[in-house]
Subunit: 702 residues, 2 copies
């Protein structure tokens, strides 16, 4: 997953050209244009035309002469020049020829709307592959086939679903599924999120979500939204996703993403939808976390998180929320949910309480939640927000404002008070408006003023927790002291398969791990002397068989020379035994560190407690290598059994800084040597600062 | 928590009278009536009048002569006769006098809308108590103060929030918070749930949620809804809630409930809202589960679950769902979510696939999810539902139907097809309609035809999982064989505090538990002989100190007589030591069974694995005593470490039927003897069928 900067720069000019043709084309040809409102070619032409595309528009149709007053071109061959962009909406058997013709004449980009290719059958897949070859050869960008099109600020080139109505561009969207985007947009607009650029990629014969992310990132400009949503059913280029998600994050763009097909049933559904291959959801989860993409499961959460990010203008500064409500019950439910989402409801200062008491009647509750009662007025609301801003700006990270239709005062005035106060408030305001029916039009006015709102406390609190709890991507720091890459390289030169314990030892010591002293004995005569060097009690392990424990090849607590000699005889009788390894007995908690290669994702590093905790309770955490110290620490702190590491029932604990250091070393080791297929440090054991890699194995890639 | 049937029957006549006066009054007096639309007394009078109340309506106001043409009565004293019901909306300092006057003249029920009582200060609480005394003495029902009123099919007696518009009565609602109900109703109506009777209880000076539930249950009739929602911030009468929730369940009414104030922050908020005392949320959770109430955390889930129950007409028959969609992505997300909600997506039969292939174009996917593509028509939808009904009725428990606005066909026809097909389909249909904006009016028509819909896949799937996963209340069966209630009674007669081990042993053996043999030794001379009776290795425990382990009073693995004598000396040197208990060593897994009295909730029985599993991992389950075998089994199967009970890594497991039997015995023991404050069987230990209560203690209530 190392990023080659040279390649990135070289790609940039081509990337600019693709961006220009796909997002800001100066000429568009619509192959199969008509005015039939319910046919793809009709709908896409109508939309581009109706939404005032300012460039040159060429409808292509052999049977018409003009559409909506625009002169029709009879064929691709008759085009006066190669268009920047061509949208194709003709029967599937004619598509390859059209793509070929367009490629050969120098068209910049083609979007194939037509379906019936890879998603249909093998013959369709074959056609799709040929299209890609043609496009690749000509250096032409190819989107689709089987996609619903593009919405950009320059043109509305889609045939299915809706065209968003809300002005502005809070959100851009790159999606592997067209209907998903439409489903999201409909609900999101009703909540106050406006859309700028919306990209659907269909079958992704040539360009997929990750490729468009790269182009988007490389051309990110002031026209782009501050929120980028993505929807994927497969992650084919994880390194690209990671690189550009991180880059966008640095540019102030918050990414929120769905990778569906996460469960077994979902994965089957995704395979039949877009032919997505099953990927390890653990790897996807780790990738999103590392990339700083807020991952959600469905549309509702996508929208809720988008609303939080828009309302707070990026990240929440912390976890402290004050609830202002006009209704006790919803205030209690929201308090519950914020608590569950690991947010805090801090106490307000005495001074604040004094000021609030002047604003609200005596029956009000002015602790947090502040209950302004159904009789609340716009003046009161305005005053509460002002007081909180003046006195609690350092104490609060957000104000959750709940209001319904009490029937006792004018809600429009309340909404207006929030709308006016929000831009001035130093504390971001999250409005929860419940009266969707009786105040529908007033809420519509509220969102047209640029506000978002939340209809439900659980959705709001969960989203707030997500935004407050997600991690900004961290740069992986330099390799730690005592990590000798050259020495590891030497140890790994020319090896293959399951490595010899001596080589494993050399690798681990070179990487800076601490191992208990160990001595290999191959002659019975040397046993007694070497045992004396280690000291009793000690551990004896058979050398030779791979799964030592399974063949009874690990013997603990050897107390004296007599025991040792008896055990030697037993161990050497095991099949494939060639010798015996002596180690001191190490006591204390056992943990497991490991890493395995997950295809294009690179190595997934694992951490968990040993024994049944990992095996039965599945209490393990994963992250993609290499790891920054903060990521390693997050893994350690993330296991459910975390308290056990501090020691329980009077037993001593483990120094988690050293554990974290071990994880960082492991991350670098596998990232630097991707030829390692699997590595297990199992167990790492000890107490306090004295932690040892007691057993380990490394298997190289075939 | 034993139900006294005699009391229940005696209460019934009074309950009928209260029901009549509160829900079906023949005369209503509005004390403080006016026509001012934004004042409580004006609003409540206007609503009752405008919504065509058919009984006698008496506005009471000293300053007016008629309101909307209804003659005004100048004072309570001037009423021609005692009303069935009086609604009070006058300043708080005048309320007690009004209540007293109404009580003395024989008014059936009073609803006090006025606020400024217990929720305000101690003086208000005092007034509230006096009101209750007056009402109790006169046998008058008292609702409130500080409540927003009642909606019934007879009259609309509320002053705040909305009056629902949708005809029908899918849902009745009993709530401790008025605004919560309004917030719910607004959103629920927009989803197709109509409301019949809606009750808000405010401060509950006399009658609370549980009391109204009793009255509702005892008068449940064909006018009542099939879904009853409840909202509570405190459970004051758990036994009453349990009894009547179970009774309503048997009558076919599905209860869905919120008990908020579940977390620490929520509990603080609830205390300041309704003065709710903090109750153990563990006990609340156990109570709802035992009562068969589907518990949800917020409004969104309440509505989603309500929509599922309405759509499937009660319970789901199983966990098998088929997704029919017009969009791949949302189908994949729904599949993911259904999987997470522990639902299943079964494969369809060959015959079904053949039939579907005839209906849909070749590009469609016809596995489950069935993807009908954006080009879907009403005829296709109708045919799909028909085919599934004909061929898959035994294979499916629900059809989740997803459709958005594809822009390619008429959505109204699609909705109509679902609306027409649903009543005829043997498989319940759950419609997810996404195009809230572009199809808003069409969706409105759809719900006015009696349908519900879901806007989001996560909300739908979670609710489906809740409805499929909740447990119908079970009757607790007879006491198990070998449970000798008389013998236990004898053992517990006259005891107090922490019981003597000999009495604990007698109680447990009488209840049918299995204990390892144990011998108490008080004379050193008897030690050797008694050790021989038990057999080595054995366990020695000090007698006297309560927390034996803490004082080093438990010694395991005593191997021989010499060891035993040495240990005797050590144990007898412990403070308060009076003797030593001998037991055989028992090996195997350790679990903890316990029960403690949770006030009005009765005893909460606990089960978990011993040691760190319970202490650090909090991997324990609770249920209210007494327990049916199925409830005991659910506790055992509900712990995360459940696989450990079957044995791991070659270690033998435990017979969970015996564990379950122990839990049932424990449940009866504490339910039959509520004077037991705490009982711990810790550990219960052993392998296979040989499980023993190795250590135990019982503490009686003071």
């Amino acid at each position: 997953m190392t990023i080659n900067n040279a390649t990135a720069v070289a790609a940039s000019e081509r990337s600019q050209r693709i961006y220009q043709c796909l997002f800001r084309p100066q000429s568009i040809a619509v192959v199969g244009a008509s005015t039939a409102p319910l046919k793809p070619g009709g709908r896409v032409f109508n939309l581009i035309h109706q939404h005032g595309y300012a460039g040159t528009l060429w409808p292509i149709n052999p049977k018409a002469t003009e559409l909506h007053g625009v002169p029709v071109i009879p064929s691709i061959a008759a085009l006066p020049s190669a268009p920047d962009l061509a949208l194709i909406a003709i029967p599937s058997h004619m598509v390859l020829d059209a793509v070929t013709e367009l490629a050969e004449m120098g068209t910049g980009a083609v979007i194939v709307l037509t379906s019936g290719f890879g998603e249909k059958d093998a013959a369709g897949k074959e056609l799709e592959n040929k299209m890609k070859e043609v496009a690749d050869k000509a250096g032409m960008a190819l989107i689709g086939p089987n996609c619903s099109g593009f919405l950009t600020t320059t043109y509305k080139g889609k045939f299915a679903g809706i065209v968003p109505q809300l002005p502005g561009g809070d959100v851009d969207f790159i999606s592997g599924s067209g209907a998903t985007v439409d489903y999201v947009m409909e609900c999101a607009e009703a909540r106050g999120l406006s859309f700028g650029t919306v990209i659907n990629l269909g079958n992704s014969a040539q360009l997929g979500v990750e490729d468009l992310l790269k182009i988007y990132d490389e051309n990110y400009n002031e026209d782009c939204a501050k929120i980028l949503m993505i929807y994927m059913e497969a992650v084919k280029k994880p390194a690209l996703l990671l690189q550009h998600a991180r880059s966008l994050g640095k540019k102030g763009c918050v990414m929120i993403g769905i990778k569906s097909g996460a469960t077994e049933a979902g994965s089957r559904a995704a395979a039949s939808h877009t032919g997505a291959m099953a990927t390890s959801d653990t790897a996807v989860e780790a990738l999103f976390e590392k990339a700083g993409i807020i991952r959600v499961a469905g549309r509702g959460a996508l929208i809720d998180v988008g609303c939080v990010v828009k309302a707070v203008k990026g990240r929440l500064s912390g976890k402290r929320v004050c609830i202002v409500t006009d209704a006790g019950g919803p205030g209690v439910m929201l308090a519950d949910e914020l608590n569950r989402a690991k947010m805090e409801l801090p106490a307000l200062s005495e001074k604040t309480l004094e000021e609030l008491a002047k604003i609200l009647p005596a029956e009000s509750s002015i602790i947090n939640p502040i209950d302004a009662l159904p009789s609340r007025t716009d003046k009161q609301i305005e005053a509460i927000i002002r007081v909180l801003g003046e006195l609690e700006a350092d104490n609060l990270d957000a104000i959750a404002f709940l209001t319904g239709d009490s029937g006792l005062s004018d809600n429009a005035a309340i909404y207006q008070a929030i709308s006016d106060a929000a831009p001035k408030s130093p504390i971001p305001i999250l409005p929860m408006l419940s009266s969707l029916t009786s105040c529908g039009e007033k809420i519509d006015t509220f969102i047209r003023q640029g506000n978002v709102f939340f209809p439900d406390e659980v959705g709001m609190a969960t989203a707030v927790g997500k935004v407050a709890g997600y991690f900004e991507p961290v740069e992986v720091t330099d390799r730690p002291a005592g990590y000798d890459q050259t020495a590891i390289q030497e140890a790994l030169t020319g090896v293959e398969g399951a490595l010899d314990p001596a080589i494993v030892k050399q690798v681990l010591l070179s990487a800076g791990f601490v191992l208990p002293e160990q001595i290999e004995v191959f002659e019975k005569e040397q046993l007694a002397a070497q045992c004396q060097r280690i000291g009793f009690p000690l551990v004896m392990k058979v050398i030779g068989p791979l799964h030592k424990t399974d063949v009874g090849g690990v013997r603990l607590g050897i107390a004296n020379e007599e025991d040792a000699l008896k055990t030697w005889t037993e161990l050497m009788a095991i099949n494939e035994a060639t010798g015996v390894l002596l180690q001191p007995m190490v006591t204390g908690q056992e943990v497991i560190l490991g890493a395995s290669l997950e295809g294009e994702f690179g190595h997934l590093v694992m951490f968990g407690l040993g024994g049944i905790y990992a095996e039965v309770l599945k209490d393990v955490r994963f992250a993609l290598a290499p790891l920054a110290p903060v990521e390693a620490r997050r893994m350690i702190d993330g296991i459910r059994c975390r308290p056990l590491l501090d020691g329980v029932r009077g037993e001593p604990g483990m120094n988690v800084d050293i554990l974290s250091d071990f994880l960082v070393r492991l991350g670098h080791l596998v990232a630097d040597f991707p030829e390692i297929a699997e590595i297990d440090l199992n167990p790492v054991k000890g107490t306090g600062d004295r932690l040892y890699v007691v057993d380990s194995r490394i298997i190289m890639k075939k």
